[in-house]
């Protein structure tokens, strides 16, 4: 790894979007045979930079060299042609096609007739060679997330990619799968490939990377420095410009009445598979229960079942009222608030104004709603109040919701949900994709509500976040929830094992106690 031949060299890259300079004269290079981590918080510009390298965006200014030759990348095809392959955070796989079909997509060979058995064999041998085991004839929707990621990598390797760009690859993996991935990457770099590893997770960077580049607000704050010897603190400071390790003052609150009581809840996913399996869960007022787990183990379906968006068997009681399989409106009236994972797709109406978004739960009752009609002036006054109170940064209450940044949109959603004075809040991945300031705000709000007596179900992939905020933590794996233990007693290693199903509870079957 002492080779200093550059595989990729980007100089003076500038990329502008309406209202923001995503990349501001950025220099970045990758050496042959190294793992180079690209760090930065959300919105720092690292994804944009890599999208330029992958041929998806065109840079406004700057040059790119691959193996010392200047290249112009107008499309992903151009990028792949020079050996640059990107594995995106959100997989670009066609669910209804098979693994092999996905790998063959976009290639010139086979010329015309699809001779699948021949190519399945080719894929199989490539998979064996690189240690990425997967069934070439399986349809994508049948695979687990980790397997799908392997298909994405195979896709690139099949095309002869020597420089692999991985965008937040561990976001969807359990600790053990992360280990496997890192091993695979080390094997590849030993064989001469180079890897760019985009992440905002500081421990992973210190584990896997040879060099680190840090970006903040479109600019490089640390260029290609050796990763060895860097502490999390150093890196965090480079990322945000200040000491960021959040310290939270968590007040002691003694839990009150049981607010949410789930017994024996099972549900089926959209694909017809069982996604929740005899779930028992109890949350008391003034309590935050953190549910840890890798995405795709039933978290969304759990939230949907509680909020009335999905059918289930079993019992779900909120303050004694049975809500399982009842319409959503009943759950809302019973005081259930829902901060969904998908802010733009579910949590807001993009083309409607802030006002319209804020009254989504309140329009049916006084003081905004009177019988059938809506008092427009009251609605607007309320919206203005909430906008100011929750510091939603936008030109006015008439601004369309789609123009808000992620952090502001989440503030909007929280404003709406909290102002409905719920007894139970279901928050799913509430800080995903937010910048540090917004993350702090969200955490602060959740803790405030907890002190005010609200019960909170915090579903998050971020174990650190859970350990920081929650009173008790449980793990969800393949639709089953472990028993919850006080956060003080939780041990990260053991939680990690539970998240991958390597260890089940000591007791026979999930019996949580609150």
């Amino acid at each position: 790894m002492t080779e200093t031949t550059l595989a990729v060299e980007m100089r003076g890259i500038v990329k502008r979007f309406p209202g923001v300079v995503a990349n501001d004269h950025v220099d970045f290079d990758v050496r042959v045979g190294e793992v180079h981590a690209l760090l930065g918080e959300n919105g720092a510009g690292k994804s944009t930079l890599m999208n330029i390298l992958a041929g998806l965006y065109g840079a406004d200014e700057g040059t790119i060299r691959v193996h010392d030759r200047v290249v112009k990348l107008h499309s992903p095809r151009d990028a792949i042609a020079v050996g640059l392959g990107m594995v995106h955070q959100h997989f670009t796989l066609v669910d209804s096609l098979t693994v092999t079909e996905n790998i063959l997509l976009g290639l010139d060979e086979p010329r015309f007739w699809m001779n699948l058995p021949l190519y399945e064999a080719k894929v199989e041998s490539l998979a064996a060679k690189t240690g990425l085991a997967v069934d070439p004839a399986a349809k994508i929707w049948q695979l687990s997330v980790g397997e799908q990621q392997r298909v994405e990598i195979l896709k690139m390797l099949y095309r002869g990619a020597e420089i692999l760009i991985m965008d937040e690859p561990t976001a969807v993996l359990a600790p053990q799968e992360i280990d496997e991935l890192f091993e695979t990457l080390r094997g590849m770099t030993a064989a001469g490939a180079s890897v760019v590893f985009i992440s905002h997770k500081l421990d992973e960077v210190t584990r896997i990377a040879d060099r680190v580049t840090v970006m903040r607000r479109g600019q490089v704050t640390a260029a290609g420095e050796p990763a060895a010897g860097k502490t999390k603190r150093d890196l965090a400071q480079l990322m945000v410009g200040r000491e960021v390790l959040e310290s939270i003052d968590k007040a002691t609150v003694s839990p009150g009445q049981i607010v949410l009581e789930m017994t024996g809840v099972s549900a089926t996913s959209d694909r017809g598979l069982r996604c929740l399996d005899a779930v028992d869960l109890r949350i008391r007022s003034g309590q935050i229960i953190g549910l840890a787990g890798v995405a795709g183990n039933g978290q969304s379906e759990l939230a949907e079942v509680i909020t009335g968006l999905r059918e289930c068997t079993g019992s779900i009681k909120v303050n004694g009222q049975e809500l399982a399989n009842r319409p959503v409106a009943e759950a809302i009236d019973a005081g259930v608030a829902h901060v969904p994972e998908d802010r733009t797709g579910i949590g807001s109406a993009p083309n409607l104004s802030l006002t319209d978004n804020l009254i989504m739960k309140a329009y049916r009752s006084r003081p905004i709603g009177h019988g059938w009609s809506i008092d427009d002036s009251v609605a607007r006054a309320r919206a203005q109040e909430l906008k100011d109170l929750y510091e939603v940064s936008a030109p006015s209450i008439n601004t369309q919701a789609r123009l808000l940044s992620g952090g502001n949109l989440q503030r909007l959603i929280l404003a709406r949900e909290i102002s409905s004075e719920p007894g139970l809040m279901v928050a799913v991945q509430p800080t995903r994709g937010l910048d540090v300031g917004a993350i702090e705000t969200v955490h602060k709000l959740l803790l405030e509500q907890r002190e005010g007596g609200m019960a909170v179900l915090l579903i998050s992939e971020d174990l650190d976040e859970i350990l920081m905020l929650a009173d008790r933590v449980a793990v969800i794996y393949e639709g089953r929830i472990s028993r919850s233990i006080p956060v003080g007693e939780a041990e990260v290693g053991e939680l990690g094992l539970m998240m991958t199903g390597s260890v089940t509870d000591a007791t026979a079957g999930p019996t949580p106690r609150a």
Partner: protein, 320 residues
């Protein structure tokens, strides 16, 4: 009522629906809904007949397909590049195509002999019943229709371009990331759909009911073709079945009006003139029932439209 003749007539008029529906199937497989089929058929009918009558029939067929494709290109421009709503654009094109065809078609003769050859296949026509229905005295384009269906099936499911087509329709971002030109694919298939719709129209005025009948020629064919694609679950074979079956029912509703007696009892449709209108409702009710059936089947089997149908594709949207 001669069953063989009725069925053969069903095949003949079903071919109009078949061409239009297969065209729409291609477009929808690529993710674009084209409700302008009706307008493209009308334009194709006009161009096919006027060129075919005055110059040369085969040139008419070709130009009809070109006209349909051009109109579809407009649809493509507006929906793919300008990202307008696909449903509305299609509607606009129907108005447009119909209107333009009516304007430009002023003065064309309203009756003519078939402009395209009518063919009977030698050996196949002798097969009892089947031969009389499928292979006797049918326009040459009907036979083209028979070939079109398996060719379409093979293209979509067994070739590399077909793989790309399916990918573009299901998840354009995935196809794009791998270098498949989503815009070009969608344009191509939308235009192909338009060309086939134009062919359907040309077939109608040149072969099936030769002549330019401005108002009643097309009544609902284009829309029914769109419904047939849904019924066919975006598969060529099933769509073909739907096309022939629907045409047959139309034919049936006409045939039932004729005879004095039906199965021994006096034919009410013959006796009481206005009751034929009730019969006239039958085909349209059938289409609705067919759609209900297809929808509940799709619900049960969890199959459905190409996932990106109706959504414009924009590369690299910045999301939250």
């Amino acid at each position: 009522m001669n069953l063989e003749l009725a069925l053969a007539a069903g095949i003949s008029s079903g071919t109009v629906l078949l061409f239009a529906a297969i065209g729409e199937l291609f477009a929808e497989r690529a993710g674009v809904i084209n409700l302008g089929v009706q307008g493209m058929m009308f334009v194709g009918a006009l161009v096919g007949f006027s060129v075919g009558y005055n110059i040369d029939p085969w040139l008419g067929v070709v130009l009809a397909m070109v006209a349909g494709a051009l109109l579809a290109a407009l649809h493509g421009l507006v929906t793919i590049h300008l990202q307008a709503n696909q449903i509305v654009s299609g509607l606009a094109l129907t108005f447009l195509g119909t209107g333009v065809a009516l304007v430009l078609g002023e003065g064309l003769p309203s009756g003519s002999s078939p402009l395209l050859p009518v063919v009977t296949l030698p050996l196949l026509a002798d097969i009892p019943f089947v031969g009389a229905v499928f292979f006797s005295e049918q326009s040459i384009l009907v036979y083209a229709g028979y070939l079109l269906v398996p060719l379409t099936s093979i293209w979509i499911f067994r070739t590399r371009p077909g793989l790309h087509l399916r990918a573009v329709g299901e998840q354009p971002s995935a196809a794009d990331a791998l270098g498949v030109n989503v815009y070009r694919q969608r344009y191509a298939y939308v235009m192909l759909g338009g060309a086939l719709a134009g062919l359907a129209g040309a077939y109608m005025t040149m072969s099936q009911v030769p002549g330019w009948h401005a108002d009643q020629t097309f009544i609902a064919q284009g829309w029914i073709a769109v419904a047939l694609v849904i019924f066919g679950q975006w598969k060529p074979g099933r769509t073909m079945f739907g096309a022939y079956m629907t045409a047959f029912i139309f034919r049936l509703s006409l045939d039932l009006q004729g005879p004095k007696e039906l199965f021994g009892i006096p034919n009410i449709f013959y006796e009481y003139g206005p009751s034929t209108f009730v019969l006239g409702m039958l085909p349209y009710i059938t289409v609705i029932l067919v759609l209900v059936f297809a929808a509940s089947e799709a619900n049960r089997k969890r199959i459905g439209a190409p996932a990106s149908l109706g959504t414009p594709y924009v590369r690299g949207e910045r999301g939250h």
